[in-house]
């Protein structure tokens, strides 16, 4: 089993590296006159040269890549083309905000999704199950911004329970943060609970359909015992896998949700940078998102391997 885990980790490192390559090499698509094109009418010899220096567009691509990567590993991403300040300075508070929101959402979503999924599977075919399924289908189908604006309209604009804008900054105390971030958190939760619940339910159903579960019933064991002692240990691996995969999905959902609620996180930052063609920031944010996403996928696989009973006790 350790061998499998080591293999997976090695594969993960290669994937991370390949992702960094892919992300960086999109800059090869930038036109030669990028600097002047970006500045447009405000282009002067000086600021064009400044930008070219910033982006090192003169140096060969591969060298630029290695420079960038070695800097990135240390946390240095160059300077923002818009503000000319180090990208890492600007990212840090945003990164913190985004992680805060993501973890907040995960802590609520995971237990809820697993609970709903397991209950729905145990009571398959009941009204509870059908209701949960329909609810999940609806939430999965709709775009995040629809849910976000819906919540905003009712809970913030009409009933004034929550603030409309999630204006947090470095000095906001903890509980205020929880309050301000509540609506974006709920939106994220709605999105991933649906996915997680569905996959959990499917995994549990598959386990419950196994012949050894029927055997447990034929031995005269009561239902609760069959579920707890026999089904759950086997459903654990796929459920853990599902959770990790969905947390990875959170990473992507954050971008839209932050925009809806004007929450000052990394998602917002990325979107602004894309529209302004602020390449260093785009690369930095892109890389960080990719690392978290791939990292969670690797974690999902490793946990899956570790909870597979056949792999834990080989022949």
């Amino acid at each position: 089993m350790l061998k499998l885990i080591a293999q997976r980790l090695a594969l993960g490192l290669i994937t991370l590296w390949a992702a960094s390559v892919l992300i960086f090499f999109t800059t090869a698509l930038l036109p030669g006159d990028f600097a002047s094109a970006m500045l447009g009418q405000q282009a002067t010899a000086e600021n064009t040269a400044a930008i070219r220096a910033e982006l090192n567009l003169d140096r060969p691509l591969v060298l630029r890549y290695t420079d960038w990567l070695s800097g990135a590993v240390r946390g240095e991403f160059g300077n923002s083309l818009a503000s000319h300040r180090p990208v890492s300075d600007e990212i840090k508070p945003r990164l913190f905000n985004t992680f805060f929101l993501a973890i907040y959402a995960a802590l609520v979503a995971v237990p809820l999704a697993v609970f709903l999924g397991v209950m729905a599977a145990i009571r398959q075919g009941s009204t509870f199950d059908r209701g949960v399924n329909v609810g999940a289908l609806l939430t999965i189908s709709v775009p995040e911004f629809f849910l976000g604006y819906l919540l905003m309209m009712f809970l913030a604009a009409h009933f004034r329970i929550f603030p409309v804008l999630s204006a947090v900054n470095a000095s906001t105390p903890f509980f205020s943060r929880l309050y301000f971030a509540f609506l974006p958190m709920i939106t994220l939760v709605l999105v991933i609970v649906a996915h997680m619940m569905r996959m959990t339910r499917a995994s549990v159903l598959q386990v419950m359909a196994s012949p050894y579960i029927e055997m447990a019933y034929l031995k005269g064991l009561p239902k609760w015992r069959v579920v707890v002692q026999h089904a759950l240990p086997n459903a654990l691996a796929p459920i853990v896998n599902v959770i990790a995969l969905n947390l990875a999905y959170l990473v992507v959902g954050v971008v839209v949700v932050e925009r809806v609620f004007v929450y000052p996180g990394m998602g917002q930052m990325l979107v602004d940078a894309v529209s302004k063609r602020n390449v260093p920031v785009v690369l930095a944010c892109g890389l960080i998102f990719a690392v978290v996403f791939i990292g969670l996928n690797i974690l999902a696989d490793v946990l899956s391997i570790m909870s597979n009973p056949r792999l834990r006790h080989p022949r």
Binding site: Y212, E214, L218, K219, G220
Partner: protein
């Protein structure tokens, strides 16, 4: 059926009395087929009742019903199931849970699927005893170890600590018997427990079961489709078909003097083993297919076929026998070119065949055809029979549409199917009919050699018998040769004039059937032959005696 006086002495009180049992399928669309129709049976302590029938006969369903259990979609709609005086159908849920595992214990067909891969064998075997409060942990473990010893499992003290996937199939089946016995139930229900095992393992497991039953004087329902197996272990036999009871009686009576037509057919099919149907073709010794010193392996380095030499002559039926993993199916793939041989030669009508399928000319491909084991996946569900059978005609001979249609009609007649079937799709046919279509498809190419890969293994006994007769008739009419791959020695004796016995990729015996199957034997051939259950009730005892003598 009234019991004889001696039977009443040998067996104890009545433990199970099933009257007019009726089980049906119910779906949202309404009532479905009746799985069990008006079946009654009685079981006494210490008695073994064999439930015999082909698939779909309802035997498993009856076995499960004795515990008040039915699979999803199935409902017990009529009759009484009285266990020690109480009707199972009227029990509360708690009482039924008590009954299961304690009053009646179940041993499933596939042990590998019935054990939870996440728990050790101890945990699962002792679980039922512990939960009921019948024993404490030490007692349960000790009892389990005792049962392991009785069932002749290796290393009984440590056996329970392993996980299901760390243990072999035959051992797992016995572990399941231990799991069932630990609470000393009154009735054991064996549901096809040896069907998934190799023939040689089957003997040992069967012997263990019989020993277990006799020592504990448990009553048992032994469900199987193999009459020879049930002959070894049952005191009485009940024959089922399509959910109805055909005949029931003492084991010796059923096996030697069956009353009903259906029973007679079942029994006859099994005992006619020595009647060889093959008509020797008076022949020039010109060999059709020569396999010489062929070696082949898959991507790994282990040789799957290791130096095999055999030949098939015109009109021959050469059987290639072996257990799973012997390489017999792989040999077919090498002949056909799906798996290129690493060395050695395969010649067809004197010409050497290229190792790879892609390198062979169309006409060469035409002359060797193959028929598969599972007709369900060997036919494209979206094509009509006319397309399936007609394609080889079109492909190899370039005939016109009308000629193809005529030829399809001819071929359908050859396989005893009406011409109107040409517009049907495989989904509308039964298993035996599908296999016939596979045969017709092979014949459409007008081949000289047909390779039959376990073509009757997935079919019911009687259906398989018809297929064998058909193949034989076609051989007489068309002079085609067969390479017949199988694990069933009974079939071999019936249809083959030459046999090749394979073990782990090597040929251990090869020659004319009568010569190979009469002494002196290669030790493995002897083992194979002796493992095929025969219809005599004392066969098992004989085999065991012979083996202990050898091992002593």
């Amino acid at each position: 059926m009234s019991q004889t006086a001696s039977a009443q002495q040998r067996f104890g009180e009545q433990v199970l009395d099933v009257e007019a049992l009726r089980i049906e399928v119910r779906t949202d669309a309404g009532p479905g087929p009746v799985l069990v129709d008006d079946v009654s049976l009685q079981l006494r302590q210490g008695e073994v009742l064999g439930l015999i029938g082909e698939s779909g006969a309802g035997k498993s369903t009856i076995g499960l019903a004795t515990m008040g259990y039915s699979r999803s979609g199935c409902f017990i709609t009529g009759g009484k199931i009285v266990f020690r005086g109480k009707d199972v159908r009227e029990m509360t849920r708690d009482e039924r849970q008590d009954l299961r595992g304690h009053g009646v214990a179940y041993i499933a067909q596939s042990a590998a699927a019935s054990f939870n891969p996440a728990l050790t064998l101890y945990e699962q075997i002792c679980e039922i005893a512990l939960r009921r409060g019948l024993m404490k942990e030490e007692e349960a473990k000790a009892e389990a170890i005792r049962l392991f010893k009785e069932l002749e499992l290796p290393n009984p003290e440590k056996f329970g600590e392993r996980y299901p996937h760390q243990v072999s199939g035959g051992q797992l089946q016995r572990a399941m018997a231990a799991m069932a016995m630990i609470t000393k139930p009154s009735i054991l229900v064996f549901d096809e427990p040896t069907t998934a095992l190799d023939v040689t393992t089957q003997v040992e497991v069967l012997a263990s079961f019989r020993k277990l039953i006799r020592e504990h004087r448990t009553a048992a329902l032994y469900i199987t489709h193999d009459l020879a197996v049930v002959a070894q272990i049952a005191d009485r036999i009940m024959v089922l078909r399509h959910g109805k009871m055909i005949e029931v009686g003492d084991a010796t009576q059923i096996l030697q003097a069956p009353r009903e037509e259906y029973t007679r057919r079942l029994v006859a099919e099994r005992t006619v083993a020595n009647q060889n149907l093959h008509q020797a073709q008076s022949e020039t010794a010109k060999p059709l297919l020569e396999i010489t010193n062929v070696v082949a392996s898959y991507r790994s380095l282990t040789r799957v076929i290791n130096d095999v030499t055999l030949s098939v002559e015109r009109g021959d039926t050469v059987a290639v026998v072996g257990e799973s993993g012997s390489g017999k199916s792989t040999l077919a793939r090498v002949v056909v070119g799906l798996l290129p041989r690493s060395s050695g030669d395969v010649r067809f009508q004197g010409e050497s065949l290229p190792a790879r399928l892609q390198d062979r000319p169309r006409d060469q491909l035409r002359r060797i055809q193959m028929i598969y084991q599972m007709p369900d996946v060997a036919l494209n569900p979206r094509q009509t029979l006319a397309e399936i059978i007609g394609r080889p005609v079109e492909f190899y001979f370039g005939r016109s549409k009308d000629q193809v249609r005529e030829r399809v009609g001819e071929l359908l007649r050859h396989i005893d199917l009406p011409e109107s079937f040409a517009s049907r799709r495989p989904g509308e046919l039964s298993g035996g009919q599908k296999q016939r279509v596979c045969i017709a498809r092979a014949l459409a190419a007008e081949p000289e050699l047909i390779i039959c890969d376990e073509v009757t293994s997935a079919l019911d006994q009687l259906v398989g018998e018809e297929i064998l007769r058909l193949l034989n008739r076609l051989q007489e009419e068309l002079g085609v040769a067969y390479m017949f791959i199988t694990h069933d020695l009974g079939t071999v004796k019936r249809i083959a004039n030459k046999v090749a016995v394979m073990l782990k990729g090597q040929l251990v015996a090869y020659g004319e059937t009568d010569k190979i199957f009469s002494p002196p034997f290669h030790p493995y051939t002897e083992l194979l032959l002796s493992s095929v259950p025969e219809m005599r009730a004392d066969w098992l005892d004989e085999v065991l005696a012979k083996r202990t003598r050898k091992n002593a």
